[in-house]
């Protein structure tokens, strides 16, 4: 009997030992990062800010994390406008070339841009909400600066939403799992803009003139966007005040002289700031307000921005005499796929002496560099057989067409690693994201609206003189002239659609100057359709769609 009692004891022990601890069902979360764990320290808040910056960088990469080198996020703001169109077609560019039955609520681009902006807004809201709780190892100055950065980016997101969709739901608090809403309503545009104004005023108060790091936001950014916002709301005097704060800040200066990595070689002051190694303030770009950071072979540096990929034309597909005489190289700016190109109108805006339309700013010709692609026949320019090094000039005189390799592309995004990696699809240079020149153009617009044509001309001439273009006279200044000047200065940098919408000129100018879209666009297209998935998810209360969809 003894042995049995021992066994029973052993069993009892096993049962008790395996069952007595209540904590055994607590999850082992050592591999999981939650918001509650992160937002305990100042360092955690800084990490969250880095997340926000990375989200902003996605504006120039693919619209999904999984496929970051296709379907650029910013396409809807930059083509289907007077100065740019979709050259090498894909389903995404088709929509902004052909509009009509392709411009649908179900278009994946709208779904993804919308979701990306609100993901970024929620990330910012989380920072703002959680900054209010105590016990964090920061000074008031730290806290205000961190909240200022978050709010500045939040307002930047709403800026996109309002321009693209008009009235949009306004949410300024962290989303929680216990409060899922199926009855979102669209907040009137004015109310959303009021929230943007509050955010930028706060940001302008607490951001420094110059940050210790090139990666960080500085005061000029919210001031610039405030000025732009006031243009949109018609508060032109306020717009002028805010723009002037930026243009008169001694920390920010237009680049007027050659500098940096390419100084010893031919070039222009205007194009120097787009070169790898030149774009950051610490590298001499005094004009920079916001520079998107990238770095080859560093974790977090490979942001997969695809500006070069999208704006660089397929010069390697250029056919001359039955051959492709130009091959991909770092000298030629790296490899692009030419999804986006300037319209003929954009190319023809420049006077001959304007640096911004020079061959340093646009690819107007290439030199034959493909030994296996020497065209047969005689080169009409040399009256001799084609040979390596011959110049092939590109067409700029006929209208833009689809799948056109014989068409210039902008050089602002040129970048390539040295051979043999010059064929790599991605780019790893830092990129100018917002610069003082745009603030001058905002100032010009404000002055124009206030009736100060000379003031407008003066603001514009800061840029024209730097570009060696003939200065404008007050008599020349019209809203169209300002928009033309924006294109000359900011081609492919600005959110062109927004400037046109703000000035009420989108439909008119796109019809006039964009040969692909001109007959396709209608009034309806001034606002995009609310994405179908957002409409569908609003189960309990219908969300109104924009008219015409």
């Amino acid at each position: 009997m003894k042995i049995y009692s021992k066994i029973i004891l052993a069993i009892a022990f096993i049962v008790v030992a395996s069952g007595c601890k209540k904590t055994r069902l607590n999850e082992d979360v050592s591999g999981v990062l939650t918001a509650d764990l992160l937002f305990q320290t100042k360092a955690g808040f800084e990490n969250a800010l880095n997340g926000l910056y990375a989200e902003v960088r996605r504006y120039r990469s693919g619209n999904t994390i999984g496929d970051p080198i296709n379907n650029i996020m910013n396409i809807q703001a930059v083509i289907g406008v007077d100065n740019a169109y979709g050259n090498w077609r894909d389903p995404q560019t088709d929509v902004f070339n052909l509009w009509g039955t392709l411009n649908l609520p179900g278009f994946s681009q709208y779904t993804r841009v919308f979701a990306w902006l609100y993901e970024t807004i929620n990330a910012a809201n989380t920072i703002v909400d959680r900054s209010a709780k105590g016990g964090i190892d920061w000074t008031d100055a730290d806290k205000n600066r961190i909240v200022a950065e978050a709010r500045c980016i939040r307002a930047w997101c709403y800026r996109h939403l309002v321009y693209l969709w008009g009235d949009v739901p306004l949410t300024l608090t962290e989303s929680r799992g216990d409060n899922i809403k199926t009855d979102w309503q669209r907040t009137p545009k004015a109310e959303v803009r009021k929230a943007m104004e509050d955010d930028w005023i706060f940001a302008a108060q607490y951001l420094p003139d110059v940050a210790t790091s090139d990666a960080r936001l500085i005061k000029g950014i919210p001031q610039h966007f405030l000025a732009e916002l006031y243009l949109a709301t018609g508060d032109y005097a306020k717009a002028k005040v805010e723009a002037t704060k930026v243009t008169t800040n001694p920390a920010y200066k237009i680049v007027t002289a050659r500098y940096g990595v390419n100084k010893a070689f031919p070039g222009t002051p205007f194009t120097d700031m787009f070169l790898d190694g030149n774009s950051k303030r610490s590298q001499g770009n005094t004009e920079a307000l916001w520079v998107i950071q990238n770095e080859l072979l560093v974790v977090g540096g490979e942001g997969n921005t695809i500006m070069r990929r999208y704006w660089q034309n397929r010069y390697y597909s250029l056919a001359v005499g039955g051959k492709n005489p130009i091959s991909v190289s770092a000298e030629n700016g790296g490899r692009g796929i030419g999804r986006l190109s300037p319209t003929r109108f954009a190319l023809n805006l420049y006077a001959a002496n304007d640096d911004r339309g020079s061959s340093f700013a646009f690819r107007l010709f290439y030199l034959i560099n493909n030994a296996n692609g020497i065209p047969s026949g005689t080169n009409p320019r040399t009256n001799a057989p084609y040979k390596l090094g011959d110049t092939i000039f590109l067409n700029t005189t006929s209208n833009e067409t689809l799948s056109q390799a014989n068409w210039p592309s902008v050089r602002k995004w040129d970048y390539a690693q040295p051979a043999p990696l010059d064929i790599v699809d991605r780019e790893y240079n830092d990129q100018v994201f917002l610069r003082l020149a745009e603030t001058y153009l905002v100032l010009a617009e404000a002055n124009f609206r206030l009736g100060d044509l000379q003031g407008a001309a003066d603001a514009i001439n800061v840029l024209r003189i730097r570009a060696k273009a003939t200065p404008a006279t007050a008599a020349q200044i019209t809203i169209d002239y300002i928009l033309d000047e924006r294109s000359r200065e900011l081609f492919s940098e600005e959110d062109r659609r927004y400037a046109l919408l703000r000035t009420g000129k989108w439909l008119e100018r796109t019809r006039l100057y964009n040969k692909t879209a001109s007959t396709k666009i209608v009034d309806r297209d001034t606002l995009f359709p609310i994405p179908q998935d957002v409409i569908d998810a609003n189960r309990t209360k219908p969300m109104t769609q924009n008219p015409g969809y």
Partner: protein, 979 residues
């Protein structure tokens, strides 16, 4: 029908009993001893020896010896019965010894079923439990048991998702899909212990039985994780006799069964020129002029080979039973470089340490080798869609880095075959138990069951500069080491006892289970050279390591009571209480009860005169089962969004998931009514089941408005229902001395629908969930033919279109096509599925044919879209009947850009009939065996997947991916020898 009055019968029996009772008192007590053996003379243990009509009885020991003490009288009949043997009734002679030989009976061998924490006689089972026909396991080229189960069992739907050497790309559903987003995997119990590993790691030749639990009663003992069904796998055990050494092996070749009609050569060129005239590049034009086309599918595939060799030993002595096996499988798949090798060994031992203590182990060691990367079949560089006007090899015979010189986006689809790749898995799965019989309480025993699963997988892949991937990255290495560590401890208390006609069983369980998986991985790019491959990461310029942990704990208590009155009335009551770490703090525990009744109608006295029906049992059960979720779903997790500051990494995070402090178990409640029957001297036998299931508090990954910044949340929502009917039938159609024809058939009908979502009677369009409709529907614009020349194409509900454009059905008839015209298209849920196995046996030769099919399913064929060819017609597509002005078809719209902007999907029937296996076996008997001294010698030839009948135009109607390795058609020869 006076004979059918049970009460009279019972009364008579009781009267007889009272009359006979005095006789017993005066009779002399006797003892009969003897030995029970099989026909080969091996002792048979555990044979039940009873005196018919009395309660006297005993069982044989390990040597087959029995000693039966009872009060002898003339006319007594002794009944010898044991599972797997034909029961014999013998009138004892005058002596006191009796040796009996029992004949094995394969059909009856099926009569024991594994029910979870024990076995039961088929007759005593109250739940819905089906066993796999052993023919599906033996002499079949199965690389895993799922392939054996496919189409063979009613209520179990297994579909092959894609081809490949390993054959593990399958998905399984038992009684339809219940959960929308919760765990959909069935629970696999291997030798009594939950098994989480890959199906590839269980060697099918080691498997003795596969039983599937389907209704709430059968499943309830596995409570929490059982709602999707449970598969119980039991490996072969020792026989306790002299050692039998066996060899089983086969060798076969394989070739793809079917390829879809892809545009090749000239046809592709014409398609491209028609669609985008200026898109032809110089290199394409040159290849077209030279008529040099590349058939990438041909280049990526080959004639595969497969071979398996298994050596097994089984035997033992009175106190030890052992089974051991060693197996090697090597399959070279039909895709280049696709090779799967498995070496596995198994040792199953059971030792009676004393007459009250038994120890046993079932231990499996396996090594899988999956070295080598197959060509790219799907995605951007997939062979089905790769431009045929490209060049696979350069002049030196090496694979081109850029097969299309003008479009360097494209990697050679075969480039992956140049990658250095190592992929090894080592695994231990061991279950060990200790069983204690308590002599002081008869029928009481305790079992300590432990299971340990340890798996390590090491994968390393290096792309060198001879591939586009490697060239662009300067060499690219990805490496991962993952370890799975699961363990289970179960304490089981069992009590089984008969009191006259009453027999009672009790099973009590307390178990603890912990599943943990860790993974360490590494990506490295920019290597100085391609020499060191896996070993050069230390000098790579960018090395990104990452690590992960997943851990889940389950604690369970279970009690089951079986009550059996006179083998006529059966009752099973089960309750299980489960706690799981993945749920919210207040909702970790849940209770899952069930009750089941069985009535063996054929054991009733009134049934004695129904000669045509040998066996009839009614089963009714009701109960609930649970479903779990993966860990950490209750937490608001952050995703990495890393930024950079200068040249320094700036760690960044953003919120991408919601917290949900209310997450609890998903529960399925099932009512099951079943009938087991056999008739006409057991020539027809089968089961019929009807079930009605409701699943509530579904664990849903629900899409929510992106305005919240996070687009999905895991929640308990709604209710779904599955109703179904299942039929399993085994018949002996024809039986003579030399020839028999037997059939094994099954039919499954399941109807699935969403009953409730949010309690407000509305649909959820965002998630494509519609009340009253099945869970997985395809929702979108419906294709309605083609706009024709005669149509007014300037004024259509779609706006201005052109003749040849796809017509979208105006569902609400409002004359405008918008979001309200989306509808459910196709029918993914089949009307019914079936399986049919026929065996024809003539003397020593037998022919086995197995077929299965799916009927009444219609799906959108995503390959039937021209948008896939991309801008510039960079991909090829399936051959279609395109609309042209001279071919005004409605089959397919014109070959022009944007002819179908709404993406209206074209529906095709994906029903099919597949002849899965045909095998011809010759079994040597008599002289050949005597001369060679072998106990078994079989040779067979077999073919797998010889035919499929379908209207589906894609790769395969069964595959979920239509751009994967094709289904293989196999031919093989095999041999079974036993010594």
């Amino acid at each position: 029908m006076p004979n059918c009055n049970p009460s009279k019968k019972t009364l008579k029996a009781i009267l007889c009993w009272l009359f006979l009772l005095p006789l017993y008192v005066f009779a002399q007590p006797t003892a009969i001893t003897g030995k029970v053996t099989d026909l080969e003379g091996n002792p048979v243990q555990s044979v039940s020896v009873t005196v018919k009509g009395t309660t006297a009885g005993t069982t044989t020991n390990a040597e087959g010896i029995f000693k039966l003490s009872y009060t002898k009288k003339t006319g007594d009949i002794l009944v010898f019965s044991y599972i797997g043997f034909t029961t014999r009734e013998i009138v004892p002679g005058t002596g006191n010894t009796l040796n009996v030989r029992l004949e094995r009976n394969e059909q009856l061998a099926n009569d024991v079923v594994v029910v979870g924490y024990g076995t039961q006689r088929r007759k005593d089972v109250t739940g819905s439990v089906v066993s796999l026909d052993k023919k599906r396991l033996e002499n079949m080229p199965n690389s895993n048991f799922m392939q054996a189960l496919q189409g063979a069992v009613p209520g179990v739907s297994i579909s092959t998702n894609g081809g490949g050497a390993e054959g593990n790309s399958v998905s399984i559903q038992i009684r339809g899909q219940k959960s929308i987003n919760g765990n959909k995997d069935v629970l696999i119990i291997l030798d009594g212990i939950p098994y989480n590993g890959s199906i590839s790691d269980i060697n099918p030749t080691d498997i003795a039985t596969v039983d599937v639990l389907k209704d709430a009663s059968a499943l309830a003992i596995y409570g929490a994780k059982s709602a999707n069904g449970v598969i119980l796998i039991t490996t072969k055990k020792g026989s306790g006799g002299k050692a039998v050494i066996s060899y089983d092996g086969y060798y076969g070749t394989q070739k793809y069964a079917h390829l879809p009609p892809v545009l090749m050569g000239d046809d592709f060129y014409n398609f491209k020129v028609t669609r985008e005239p200026n898109s032809v590049t110089f290199s394409e034009k040159a290849l077209y002029n030279a008529k040099t086309y590349t058939n990438w599918l041909d280049l990526a595939t080959r004639t595969g080979q497969s071979a398996q060799h298994t050596i097994g030993v089984r035997g033992g002595s009175s106190n030890v039973k052992y089974f051991a096996s060693l197996s090697y499988l090597d399959t070279k798949g039909i895709a280049l470089n696709d090779r799967f090798k498995r070496m596995s060994s198994r040792v199953n031992i059971e030792i009676n340490l004393t007459n009250w203590l038994t120890y046993g182990t079932n231990t499996q060691l396996s090594y899988n080798n999956r070295d080598g990367v197959a060509p790219t079949f799907s995605g951007d560089y997939g062979v089905y869609t790769f431009n045929p006007l490209t060049t696979p090899y350069d002049s030196a015979g090496k694979l081109t880095i850029y097969p299309w010189p003008e479009d360097t986006f494209f990697e050679n689809p075969l480039a992956a075959t140049l990658a250095a790749n190592r992929d090894n898995t080592y695994k231990i799965f061991t279950t060990n138990y200790l069983q204690v019989k308590f002599p002081f309480v008869k029928g009481l025993s305790y079992r300590l069951n432990t299971g340990i699963e340890y798996q390590g997988r090491d994968i390393a892949t290096y792309y060198g500069r001879n591939t586009r991937t490697g060239l662009l990255a300067g060499g690219r290495l990805t490496q991962s080491n993952s370890v799975t560590k699961n363990y289970t401890i179960e304490n089981i208390l069992q009590f089984d006892r008969s009191f006259g006609k009453h027999s009672v069983g009790f099973t009590g369980l307390y178990s603890y289970q912990e599943d943990a998986a860790t993974s360490n991985s590494l990506t490295a790019v920019s290597f100085p050279n391609d020499i060191l491959t896996f070993y050069g990461a230390n000098v790579a310029l960018l090395v990104t390591p990452s690590a992960s942990l997943q851990k889940q704990t389950t604690i369970s208590q279970m009690a089951r009571i079986n009550y059996n009155y006179d083998s006529r009335y059966l009752l099973t009551v089960t309750g299980r209480n489960d706690g799981n770490s993945a749920f919210a703090q207040e909702h970790k525990w849940a209770f899952f009860p069930s009750v089941a009744f069985g009535w063996n109608i054929s054991n009733e006295k009134f049934f004695d005169n129904v000669k045509a029906i040998n066996n009839l049992k009614l089963r009714v059960s009701y109960g609930s089962n649970g479903n779990i979720l993966t860990p950490y779903q209750t937490l608001a997790r952050l995703s990495t969004r890393t930024y950079i500051d200068g040249t320094i990494t700036a760690a960044g995070y953003v919120p991408t998931s919601f917290s949900n402090p209310f997450l609890k178990w998903e529960t399925t409640t099932t009512t099951n009514i079943g009938l087991d029957f056999s008739a006409l001297k057991n020539r027809i036998s089968g089961t019929v089941d009807y079930y009605d299931q409701t699943t509530h508090d579904l664990l849903l990954d629900r899409s929510v408005s992106s305005v919240q910044g996070i687009t999905s949340i895991t929640q308990n929502i709604g209710k779904t229902g599955n109703k179904g009917f299942e039929l399993g039938l085994t018949t002996v159609n024809f039986q003579t001395k030399n020839f028999t024809w037997t059939t094994n058939a099954n039919l499954t009908i399941n109807r699935n629908r969403i009953i409730d979502l949010y309690g407000d009677g509305t649909n959820d369009t965002a998630n494509q969930w519609f009340l009253g409709k099945p869970i997985d529907v395809r929702f979108g614009y419906a294709y309605d033919g083609v706009w024709q020349l005669k149509d007014d194409t300037a004024h259509t509900p779609q706006g201005v279109v052109r003749p040849g454009y796809a017509k979208v059905k105006d569902i609400n008839g409002d004359g405008i096509i918008n979001g309200f015209d989306r509808t459910i298209i196709g029918n993914i849920q089949p009307d019914f599925t079936w399986g049919l196995g026929n065996t024809f046996k003539y003397q020593n030769l037998s022919l086995y044919v197995f077929a299965y099919g799916v009927q009444g399913r219609h799906e959108v064929n995503t390959q039937l879209s021209d948008n896939n060819v991309n801008s510039g017609v960079r991909y090829t597509t399936l051959v279609k009947n395109w609309w042209t002005p001279t071919n005004p078809t409605n089959d397919f719209y014109a070959n022009v850009l944007n002819a179908n902007p709404k993406g209206a999907g074209i529906v095709e029937s994906s029903s099919f009939v597949r002849i899965r296996d045909i095998s011809l076996t010759y079994e040597f008997k008599g002289r050949v065996l005597d001369k060679t001294g072998l106990s078994r010698l079989n040779v067979y030839v077999q073919t797998r997947n010889p035919f499929t009948i379908t209207k589906w135009s894609g790769l395969d109607p069964e595959f979920s991916s239509q751009t994967t390795v094709p289904l293989q058609r196999e031919f093989l020869v095999g041999l079974n020898v036993s010594l």
